[in-house]
């Protein structure tokens, strides 16, 4: 009898996971269809590209945040650390006059280092993740303002820096088919994040820590080390986001960033990542990010005031989490 019950459980689990992924994807498709029917301006090449590029930054942040949430933590600092990363990139390229690639490295290293500091605060100093990253949120924001002297830093046009995001390799290969590089980078990073999550030790431990940190510790996993590593890894993606947004705006805007963390977390949650940790996948996160930007874009095309867009996003978050709770209850 036990075998029969267990056999059914495995089936149910597989079906539930697939259902959840399909549901998020299905919601996205329905939105697309809905908005296309409601307005002829929606399903045009330019508009879809607009959605893609709008998703790029949030998508990257969401990838980083997903690692952290699955591991059982939270990171409120991703928005302002992204800004700080873009500021450091600008300082290296504009103020120090160094080559673009050094600027990119500076940005990515800044994000990774901030993540590292978060990790140390949380694992060694035992600060609760909420508090530690809240502190980092403020420190990063403050540093961005201090370093820039409160005003934006503009990248010199000759540097070609903005091509990182806004240039298009695809247009060079297939004329007229202009997908911005930033979009390709996001998809590439999403693939990388997915591989890391499923195929590497740090990915495995991300799930272990989120599922039962103490059991992992008592199995010999060096929890302090790996937790710090996970936050650092997340910071890497945040740093990349900083470079991408700086290239998109061709400037580092120090007052930007705060609030971005909420959209990143929302993307993960809508994509089906459980806030209690231990489960999730990157595909869901990316779909979640697309749902948010599709929604924002569609509502704007329909001339829905921006205030209402925000309300709708909030409602979607609530529904997504609620549906997830229901699904969980049905699963044994």
């Amino acid at each position: 009898m036990e075998n029969v019950k267990n056999g059914n459980n495995k089936e149910k689990k597989r079906r539930a996971e697939t259902f959840q992924r399909l549901m998020a994807f299905g919601a996205l498709i329905i939105m697309f269809i809905g908005f296309s029917l409601a307005s002829p301006y929606f399903f045009t090449f330019n508009n879809v590209v607009g959605i893609l590029i709008a998703t790029a930054v949030n998508g990257l942040l969401a990838l980083g945040v997903t690692f952290i949430i699955i591991s059982g933590g939270i990171d409120l600092s991703v928005g302002t650390v992204m800004t700080l990363s873009s500021v450091m990139t600008a300082v290296v390229i504009k103020n120090l006059g160094l080559p673009v690639w050094l600027g990119v490295i500076a940005g990515v290293m800044t994000g990774s280092f901030a993540g590292f500091v978060n990790g140390i605060l949380i694992s060694k100093l035992k600060l609760p993740p909420f508090i530690a990253t809240l502190g980092m949120l403020n420190v990063a924001r403050g540093l961005s303002l201090v370093i820039t002297g409160l005003s934006p830093i503009y990248f010199p046009l000759e540097s070609g820096f903005s091509n990182i995001t806004m240039g298009s390799i695809t247009a060079q290969i297939i004329p007229g088919f202009e997908i911005p590089n930033g979009v390709l980078i996001m998809f590439g990073m999403a693939l990388l994040a997915g591989l890391i999550l499923t195929k590497t030790v740090i990915g495995r431990y991300t799930f272990a820590l989120g599922s039962n940190e103490e059991a992992a510790r008592l199995s010999g996993v060096n929890v302090d080390f790996w937790k710090t590593a996970i936050y650092t890894l997340s910071g890497f993606f945040v740093g990349v986001a900083g470079v991408i947004i700086a290239a998109r705006l061709n400037s580092a805007q120090p007052a930007l960033g705060q609030g971005y963390e909420l959209d990143a977390i929302a993307a993960a949650v809508i994509g089906g990542i459980s806030m209690s940790g231990g489960e999730g996948n990157m595909l869901g996160t990316i779909i979640g990010a697309f749902i948010i930007s599709t929604l924002t874009n569609g509502l704007r095309i329909l001339s829905v005031p921006q205030e209402w867009q925000i309300v709708v996003t909030g409602l979607i978050i609530i529904s997504a989490v609620y549906l997830d709770i229901i699904r969980r209850r049905r699963k044994i």
Partner: protein, 243 residues
Amino acid sequence: MKNLNSGREIRDVSFNLKKGEILGFAGLVGAGRTEVARAIFGADPIDSGEIYIMGKVANIKQPSDAVKNDLGYLSEDRKRYGLCLGLDIKNNVAMTIVEDLTTSIGWIKDNLIADISGNIVNQLSIRTPSLEQTAKNLSGGNQQKVVVGKWLAKDADILIFDEPTRGIDVGAKQEIYTLLNELAQKGKSIIMISSELPEILRMSHRVVVMCEGRITGELDYTEATQESIMQLATMRNGKKPLQ
């Protein structure tokens, strides 16, 4: 001869563990046995004392150190401390070895892990339709086997079992006893903490008895009886441990 010797200032606990033996740890609930186990395993900090393994001092500050020294620990609360209930059998069993089984660029050798977990599931007769079964859905006995499997995968030499058959049905209990004997025969050194006297009497080569944080006595299997153990288990007044 494998010697494990630890003394802790607060409770002055010292004992030896020999290779291939099952050392029973008896005592009333609250006697401090779990605390000793956790201290040896690095799960809790030690105020003072040394652990010698094979004659050499072992520096164990956290569980990862203990595991590197080939120790394994099965806590008495397997659901809370022994398993990641949300993960499947394969990943629970492989938790101790996953770091060792990667390619040069860092990818986990999933096939190898599936093989090893599969072998262990068979070896321990863990009843499950697949390796992907979530640990949460297993019976108590099978869950305990998964925890044992985790340490078998690592091939730990010194195993500390804390209440190994608590909450397990009779059939699985038998299997665990058989397993413990097999492990001892293979040369593993086992500490078995148990509050079930029949279990202690039946399985142990020697018995260490604790009371209120101190070791009150050591008996070999010829001397160990319900009376002698209970006498030592209730011996308060901070008597010095017998040498």
